[in-house]
Symmetry: none
Subunit: 154 residues, 2 copies
DNA sequence: ACAATAGCTATGGTATATCATGGGATTTTA
DNA sequence: TAAAATCCCATGATATACCATAGCTATTGT
């Protein structure tokens, strides 16, 4: 049986002078049975950081391994990019991680970081950029709404 | 094996100054075998809060995972909207949850909250808004009634 | 059939634990 | 040995857990 774990909610935390950020406690709770670290990498398409459990990347690797179709080759390349970029970030007893310059710069994060749950993954944004992105997504979703609610009448 | 559970009935409870509300005991009974928390998020289309079991959202996460690839943009937008907004709300031994400002504001809830069962999900409304919405739905249903019943059972 | 009672629910109030955050001390690395 | 990273403790704010009460429902007994 698979344990249910989902990264959820949107939380804004401070980044202090040393580059430290508190990982939201809900996020830690998900991880803490397995380990005390998460994996982060630069998003391929957006100016934000992506994070997940090492387990999730492991599953991605396994999927690529077992897939033989043509499209997997393209995905294989993307996967390489992710694995080349990804790094473990352990958090201390107070629940903080220290993000690297590279990641912070990619996301344009300085004083504050917004954690956005995405289910199996999460993202870390600069607050202003996230506000814009959220508005964009909501507008987009409103246009295509019917496709968003396949389970409504289950 | 799948356990039968349905959120049903319509119940109005008080919301105190801190934003605490008693989750209807019937709802709690459904959850308590699995955990002691529910998940709530803003409805995408209506001025109300939606609630369900984490399990239900987990199924959605799994569906998204299986129907789109890891790097899909569609997946990005959808997961951001749903999981970025959702949050776990644990209830204590007296059965209360504490709703966030964001949710209460979206639904226009101040003193009282109406819980409306919807099967696998439920909604939480401002009483006046719910009265209007219910009237609207009833009228709508009446218009379409003939198509709701199979002819042979007339 | 009616009254007493026991159990549960909703709700108000309060104490406790937890979280995010700041700062200092210690260790590591370049 | 200077700079950076890690660890540890302190603190204020906030959420959580717990206790108490009042009202309702169903049950029991006479």
């Amino acid at each position: 049986m698979r344990k249910v774990f989902l990264f959820m909610d949107t939380i804004c935390n401070k980044v202090d002078g040393k580059g430290r950020v508190s990982l939201p406690s809900d996020y830690r709770a998900i991880v803490k049975d397995l380990s005390s670290e998460i994996v982060c990498y630069r998003s391929l398409s957006l100016p934000c950081i992506e994070g997940c459990l090492e387990e999730t990347l492991d599953k991605l690797a396994a999927d690529i391994e077992n897939s033989t179709d043509f499209f997997s080759e393209a995905q294989d390349n993307l996967t390489n990019l992710v694995f080349g970029d990804a790094k473990r970030f352990p958090f201390d007893s107070t629940g903080r991680i220290m993000l690297s310059e590279k990641l912070l710069k990619h996301a344009g994060i300085t004083n504050e970081a917004v954690f956005v749950g995405k289910g199996r993954k999460f993202q870390i944004w600069n607050p202003e950029n996230w506000a814009k992105e959220e508005a964009r997504i909501r507008a987009e979703a409103l246009k295509n709404r019917p496709s968003l609610k396949p389970k409504e009448n289950e």
